[in-house]
Amino acid sequence: MASALKNQISKQPLTFQEVLFRLQSYWAERGCVLQQPYDIEVGAGTMSPDTFLRVLGPEPINIAYAQPSRRPADGRYGENPNRLYKHLQLQVILKPPPADIQDLYLASLEAIGIDLREHDIKFEEDNWEWPVGGAWGVGWQVMLDGLEITQFTYFQQCGGMDLDPISGEITYGLERLTAFLQDVDSIYEIVWARDPRTGREVTYGEIRLQEELQLSVYNFEAADVSKLWEHLRMYESECQALLASFHEVFSKKAEKEAERHEKKHEHVVHGDGPVPAAEDLQQQLRRFPVLGAYELCLKCSHLFNLLDARGAISVTERVAVMARIRAMVVGVAKAYRQQSVGLTA
């Protein structure tokens, strides 16, 4: 057995960045658009608009991107070998999911050097839910030799709306996966990169340990609670104002459309009366920054998580603030849909 292990190791497993390259290439070769990480703090790849908003509506999309995901309460000052404040997910969205999506997924594991005949792989029930986003799906956690390496989800609802078509979501935990491939016991020992000229290795710890430590200190000790609340209120009120004005514009457009329809009818019947131009309203709707409102939601969500890690949210507040963020997130999702429908109508 020892020699077998040595064989495995001597194959020289992929570095952290190679795992990411290989998976990205794999999915790009299968028709995925490769997107870059979203540049606002999110708790999971699902919250990036490339998932949360693109799964809405009928337009098909295949997209993949790495997403640093921040969970302030999970920070461990860099002391725990298995837990991180910020970890990297590779998120793949296939809408609609192809019938052989499971086989595609398994082949992606082969692409990073996992010979499935030498491992034990199971799809165990694990359903996903993000109540704040009015989103849920059914699926599995994929277990490889007892390790959860992927969350596999068939999205059913998002923003409180039924999805049709649904999306298949594949989320790889890149640190776990690479630690497994490299057979290291601590995330910080993962080889991030290896200089092909010199063979010099750079570890995950060298790149990220300092950040884990300092941001744990910030999240748990230094973040100014009253300022966080202030930021939260500011982002929240701006987002709510945007949503309110969207509804104004949108209902105006709907009204105008009804009016125009009537006028057209009159025109046909009576042969007179001007038809109002709707182009300016159409233009207004197209320009409306629903995506800006969504970014404000993400800000609120992250601030909420920070306040939570600081232990600054009482039970009663928690429920109330979560309900307010939910109203905004779901509101944005609905507005996003109304906008698309309005523009294609």
Binding site: M1, A4, L5, N7, Q8, R76, E79, N80, P81, N82, R83, P96, P97, A99, Q102, D103, L106, L116, R117, E118, H119, D120, I121, K122, F123, E124, E125, N127, G137, V138, W140, L144, D145, G146, L147, Y154, Q156, D162, D164, P165, I166, F180, D183, D185, S314, V315, V319
Partner: protein, 714 residues
Amino acid sequence: MADFLFEVGLEEIPARMIAAAEDELARRVFELLTREQLLEPGQEAQSYSTPRRLAVLVSGVREAQADMEEHLTGPAWNIAFKDGEPGPAAQAFAKKAGVAVTNLKKVQTPRGEYVGASTVRKGRTAAEILEEALPKEIAAIYWPKNMYWREGKPERFVRPVQWMVALVDEAVIPVEFAGVTAGRATYGHRILHGSEPVEIVKPADYLKKLESAKVLADVEVRRQKIRKALDHATRKVEGALWREDEPLVDTVTHLTEWPSVLLGGFEHEYLELPEEVLVTVMRDHQKYFAVEDAKGKLAPYFLTVLNTEPDEEAAGIIQHGNERVLRARFNDARFFWTVDQKISLADRVDMLQAVTFHKELGSYWDKTQANREIAKRLADLVKQQGVAVDEKALLRAVELAKTDLTTELVKEFTELQGQVGGLYARAQDEGEAVAQAIYWQYSPASMEDAIPPTVEGQLLGLADRIATITQMFGIGLEPTGSKDPYALRRAANAVVKILAESAIPLTMIELMGWSPEVSGRLGHNDDEAAKLLNFLRERVEFYLRDVRGFAYDIVNAVMNNVVSGKVGVGWDDVRDTVARAKDLSEVRGSEDFAAIATAFKRSKNILRQAAEKGLLKAGEQLDVSESLLTDEAETGVFRAASKLAPVVGELRAQREYKAALEKIATLRPDVDLFFDRVMVMVDDEKLRRNRLALIQFVLESFSSIADFSEIVAG
């Protein structure tokens, strides 16, 4: 006769849902074939399943229904035929029946002569019927959680359907469901066989073909293979045994198509962590079986059930991977344990204000206060009855009981709440009595669990649950029908079990802090106490019947005994009720006792009829006048009963129920003679009232253990 095979291939079905779905599919197919008269008598459906398939195989299927001769009756003969010539009515009927007018016959009916027609309805083929009806049967299978996947959301099912096989002998039935048409191709193990289809030529080949494609479709075969492999792998460790865990065996059986077992190990140092934590990590998080040494102590090994058959090299890799995961999990647990020790349980009490118990009822800090009030009251009551209680330890345990909800370890392993608190209390020198009480507070969680071993633990468990039940009822959250979101029935079941199986000498009424008058509210539903009382009575009944397995008539009898002239209050003393049920079950088989039960039923009926006829007022107590006893048989019963009543009363007071019941059975000759010779409902009013008084006296003297009239002869 043909064989019929139907298999639906799916993406991995959740393990917890497979067994029920397998049964349901088999039942639906069997019932369909039966309903359509396509099945020879005496056939059974064989059902199979793996995570990726549900299948059913039925032999003795007819290829087609038998042709059916049908006899139709039409209009009256003399209306349809005038002078032997068919009129419009005859034409219309012939058309409707699908026969020529010349084939109409005259039939005799009780109402006279009518027009009749015989037709033969051609039997439909099994293929036709199955193709048409099976999609509806598949679609109707119940899943606890469904999904849709195709555009336009045409159907909901547990997971996407990948393929179907439907064969009547060698013929494919092209059943369509979820965009898939059934054929003869199934699929083998994902990895060991790969994506090559496996052709099934005829249903009887099904299991064999799958086996050659590395799939064991028979659940029981898989289960036995796993059990054997667990035994086998454990043998590598001298004297070791794997810890029996039926639910886990079941889960891994439904997670695998081709199972095998690997033994792994972990470092000795982790054995310093509490066994509870280690076992929870292994069982609940990793689905590993724990291993114990010859003395029953946890050994540093685990068993994992694989869904593959690795060669030696692969086995080494898989074992190494699993060991790595387990080590990381144990490290986490150890990290949480160490972090948690930085704040003692005592210092966590105030942190409970931030943990919601229920939004209307407040935090766990508030709940702790409510629990303390009740625990104090119960301790006082119990002490008055002479039971030793360490009250200080009890109140300390109540104070700290919920604080483990704020610890990292419980946040990570919620199923260990209570146990973690107990372990921490011990580590923080709170004393053994406190630690034990906290540790066991949620026991029994199910009716198979043991009750807490100490009085303090029992009282804490009672106080906690009574507080929850009363508060929830107080804001209208009592369980209704199948809805019991706060698991109050389970909480009350635990209360009943603790009362029944501990030495705590409290009745339900005392426990709830009610005045005895509340017992009169039974059967009412107009106030909270009445609702609670009925609810608790139901739980006692459940305990006797479903947990202890007493026959329903025994349960009715002991719950409707007479206590100080009142019926339906005796169940309140749970332990006593159990004892009565036990002894009554033992004597019920004797012939003498059965006769007594019959006589008591008769007596009760007579009294009821008398009351209905207005010969007796409701609840009226009659006195027996000895001078009016005219028949020897009357005197005999009266003397025997009068002599026996104090003896039985004494035995009852001593809780010697079996002896008391045996004494009561000795009344039989006198009672039998009485009912043979004496008529109660005679015309003479004085005599009648005296005889009613006599049977009332006998009934009441001997119904304090049970209402024997409830016993069903058998």
